[in-house]
């Protein structure tokens, strides 16, 4: 499974989500995991069929309203640029998908 896609989501889709993407890039690089990363705003997130969605805790109510595919795992972060938190929450997901 080479083409894992991870989508980063925030309100505007270019500030916080972009920041989270960069932080995650470093985490993945350290783990040697290849993935396709992209960032977008919350209104387009549901349609993009990512394997994993990473977003901030405050978007939990919005995501509850969306009809997200069962295959997509959503990771909510308190601090979206914290590599520690990203690694802590992303590792089990990657393990579950058989990537590490």
């Amino acid at each position: 499974m080479q083409n894992l896609t991870i989508l980063f989501v925030c309100g505007a889709g270019l500030g916080s989500s972009f920041a989270a993407q960069m932080a995650t890039e470093d985490v993945l690089k350290a783990k040697g995991v290849n993935a396709k990363l992209d960032h977008t705003d919350i209104s387009s997130a549901a349609a993009m069929n990512a394997d994993i969605i990473i977003t901030a805790e405050n978007f939990r109510p919005q995501f509850a309203k969306f009809n997200i595919s069962e295959k997509t795992t959503i990771v909510f972060l308190k601090n979206i640029v914290s590599k520690v938190e990203i690694e802590e929450k992303l590792s089990p997901v990657l393990q579950q998908k058989g990537l590490i």
Binding site: G11, L14, A19, I80, V81
Partner: protein, 696 residues
């Protein structure tokens, strides 16, 4: 005239009532349109002989209204007409190829249409097939006014292509068979290559070449020589001048070609003579088992050169003929070695991989595609040998290419003097002046893309070589500049030979289509690649600026007091509003976004990144920052109250990449963040933010 037309004629002669299109079409099994065409042609025939026409009677059909005597004379006229046979699909294609390659008259499609008697759409289909066949040889088919259809490609490839086509369409070459025993497709060949010429060549070959006993090879030699002769007679010569043929020439083949030239009174130049001798000799190479392998080596060499050129962007085709020559020989041997599992060791392998990695990798990729056809693995040693052929030419090409330097002139002697200095540099040296700057513009240097600095005053600058000059450049100082340029040869650039931007144009159209109107990171990367492939340079620093490139003094507001988070965001955005980088609607959008989704813009301890969407009112990429005397509550307990707000105005989702990088770096550096929050001076603030504390 065709048999069908004559049969139709007979039908008209035999009846004295009108014939309808439907009747004819059913009887002759041809379309109504073809019948009309036939009738037109018949009428031309009748008109030329001043006989009555076939006319239409309304609602009844066509009739040939002639007397018995007149009908009799039509009949006898028809008996004298030569019947031209229908050509099959293969015959038409072979005829087209022969005609384009060997005919002295231009090959005009509308002519061919009437000769073959096929519709335009049938002929178009033939042409499509031909084009597909030619693609394998990198030959294109184009139609020029007056000259008709033409092959566009390397002459070398065209000859090979014709050689293969003749072998394929003609079948077993039995050139000494009498004409009437040949099939119709075989006869086509002799419409374009005179039968007598072939017989003469065969006779000469048998007289001179005794080293080849196999008659098949003699026939192949003759047909290839015929192709060479006719192409030469029609002034289709090899494109490149080759200077070194360092193989031993066979006496017999040389003598054969000599005799051929004399007999045909052909003044072939030395290059053409060496070419044909080399090609014919290759038929006899021990390494090659049959002409198929020989042909494969030739084609492979052409493809390999093209492939490596495309991958490395080194214009090998400028040395094509020489390189090609060496490669062909080498590839023939290589194919034989690989098929027989003979491994050779290349003692230079490691050094080749290291020094010519790019070429080596390109060849390796190409060869991997071959392994399935060869059904054997090609060793790295073999690839390294191939690389040597290319690397030799790569260095020769580098010397041939013209270079120039992009330079900046620093001068504080007034505009006229600076311009004069710049003009003199441009006139006498391969220097392109990017900018003329004064002593106060030095900080601009970092943002410019250049190679050298010429300055009229000494300066501390380590990123580029600097030469200090008198403002008025005297001729006796020219050697100083020449030496300086020679010393910094490594900084020079290749002259952009891009004259035709058609390919670039198409690549851009594709890109626009693929992007679907959204500028994303992959699109950015592809655009960069596309421009780089066309030797067009972009200033990446300007496209994706650093925080320090766009955060100016006016964008920094320190130690403010704010009532609430709304006021804080508005205040942070003010510098961008003043500069008209954003519209007031953008501020509203930033506030709305927090109201709607919560305080997620607080992305670090005490730090918020206020932003909204480009379409909410951004005119230009910008960043501003405000620090607060008293923390402002954004209702985000995880990050605490906010003491510093960056306001980001992004124009797309990618160009602010470097800015985001700096901000993340900052968030992860709490000590630096604290320093910034405490700071009271803009200069101090910048020094801390940009890690330039030592400069203050």
């Amino acid at each position: 005239m065709r048999t069908r037309t004559i049969e139709l004629f007979k039908k008209f002669i035999s009846v004295d009532y009108p014939l309808t299109i439907e009747m004819l079409s059913e009887e002759f099994q041809i379309s109504a349109r073809t019948i009309r065409n036939e009738i037109n042609e018949m009428n031309v025939f009748l008109q030329n002989r001043q006989l009555p026409f076939i006319s239409t009677i309304r609602r009844k059909g066509f009739i040939l209204d002639a007397t018995t005597d007149q009908k009799q004379s039509i009949h006898s006229a028809l008996l004298r007409v030569a019947i031209s046979p229908f050509l099959s699909k293969d015959e038409r294609q072979f005829d087209l190829l022969l005609s384009i390659a060997f005919s002295a008259c231009p090959t005009i499609l509308t002519h061919k249409e009437s000769i073959y008697f096929v519709s335009k759409s049938v002929l178009d289909e033939d042409i499509r097939k031909l084009k597909a066949r030619l693609r394998k040889y990198d030959i294109e088919l184009t139609s020029l006014p007056k000259q008709g259809m033409q092959f566009v490609g390397l002459e070398r490839s065209i000859r090979l292509m014709m050689y293969e086509a003749i072998n394929q369409f003609y079948g077993n070459l039995e050139l000494d068979k009498p004409l009437h025993e040949l099939s119709s497709i075989q006869q086509l060949l002799f419409n374009f290559i005179p039968h007598k010429l072939i017989q003469n060549l065969l006779k000469l070959a048998h007289q001179t070449i005794s080293q080849i006993h196999d008659e098949i090879y003699v026939q192949q030699i003759v047909i290839f020589t015929a192709i060479w002769l006719i192409r030469n007679i029609h002034q289709h010569h090899l494109t490149m001048i080759r200077s070194d043929f360092n193989h031993t020439e066979s006496d017999q083949i040389t003598k054969f070609i000599d005799l051929v030239c004399r007999r045909m009174s052909l003044q072939a130049n030395r290059q053409e003579q060496q070419y044909i001798i080399y090609m014919l000799e290759a038929f006899n190479t021990k390494d090659i088992n049959n002409y198929v392998e020989w042909l494969n080596a030739q084609l492979l060499a052409i493809k390999l050169v093209n492939y490596v050129e495309e991958k490395t962007q080194i214009p090998f085709s400028t040395k094509q003929e020489q390189l090609y020559e060496n490669l062909c020989k080498h590839l023939a041997g290589l194919i034989a070695r690989v098929s027989n599992n003979i491994h050779i060791i290349n003692p230079l392998l490691d050094s080749i991989k290291q020094n010519y990695g790019e070429i080596y990798l390109a060849i390796k990729n190409f060869v991997q595609g071959l392994e399935t056809t060869l059904s054997h693995k090609v060793s790295d040693d073999e690839i390294a040998f191939l690389t040597i052929h290319f690397s030799t030419f790569a260095s020769a090409i580098n010397q041939d290419r013209s270079y120039y330097f992009k330079a900046v002139v620093l001068c504080d002697h007034g505009i006229a003097t600076s311009n004069l200095l710049a003009e003199t540099l441009k006139e006498f040296f391969n220097i392109d002046i990017l900018a003329i700057l004064g002593r106060n513009d030095l900080d601009l240097l970092e943002q410019l893309d250049f190679d050298l600095i010429f300055s009229t005053f000494p300066l501390q600058h380590t990123a580029h070589p600097v030469l200090v000059l008198e403002p008025i450049l005297k001729e006796k100082n020219h050697p100083i500049i020449t030496d300086f340029l020679a010393k910094h040869r490594a900084n020079q650039r290749i002259v952009n030979h891009l004259a035709d931007a058609t390919d670039l144009f198409y690549s851009l159209v594709d890109l626009i289509q693929d992007s679907g109107g959204i500028v994303s990171a992959p699109i950015y990367n592809r655009l960069e690649q596309c421009l780089a492939l066309n030797n067009l340079k972009i200033n990446k620093r300007k496209i994706q600026p650093m925080l320090k490139d766009i955060l100016t003094d006016e964008d920094i507001i320190l130690q403010q007091h704010c009532r609430d988070w709304r006021q804080a965001i508005t205040l942070a955005a003010e510098p961008l509003l003043t500069k008209h980088f954003i519209l007031p609607s953008y501020i509203e959008a930033m506030i709305n976004s927090v109201e709607q989704y919560g305080p997620y813009i607080v992305i670090g301890k005490h730090l918020a990144l206020a932003h909204a969407r480009p379409e909410d009112g951004v005119k230009q990429l910008g960043v501003s920052v405000v620090t607060m005397r008293e923390p402002v509550d954004f209702c985000n307990p995880d990050m605490g109250p906010v003491k510093i707000i960056f306001c980001l105005a992004a124009i797309d989702s990618f160009s602010h990449l470097n800015i985001m990088r700096s901000l993340i770096e900052l968030i992860n550096d709490e000590q630096k963040l604290d320093q910034l929050i405490m700071c009271h001076s803009i200069q101090q603030f910048k020094a801390i933010l940009f890690n330039e504390l030592n400069k203050v």
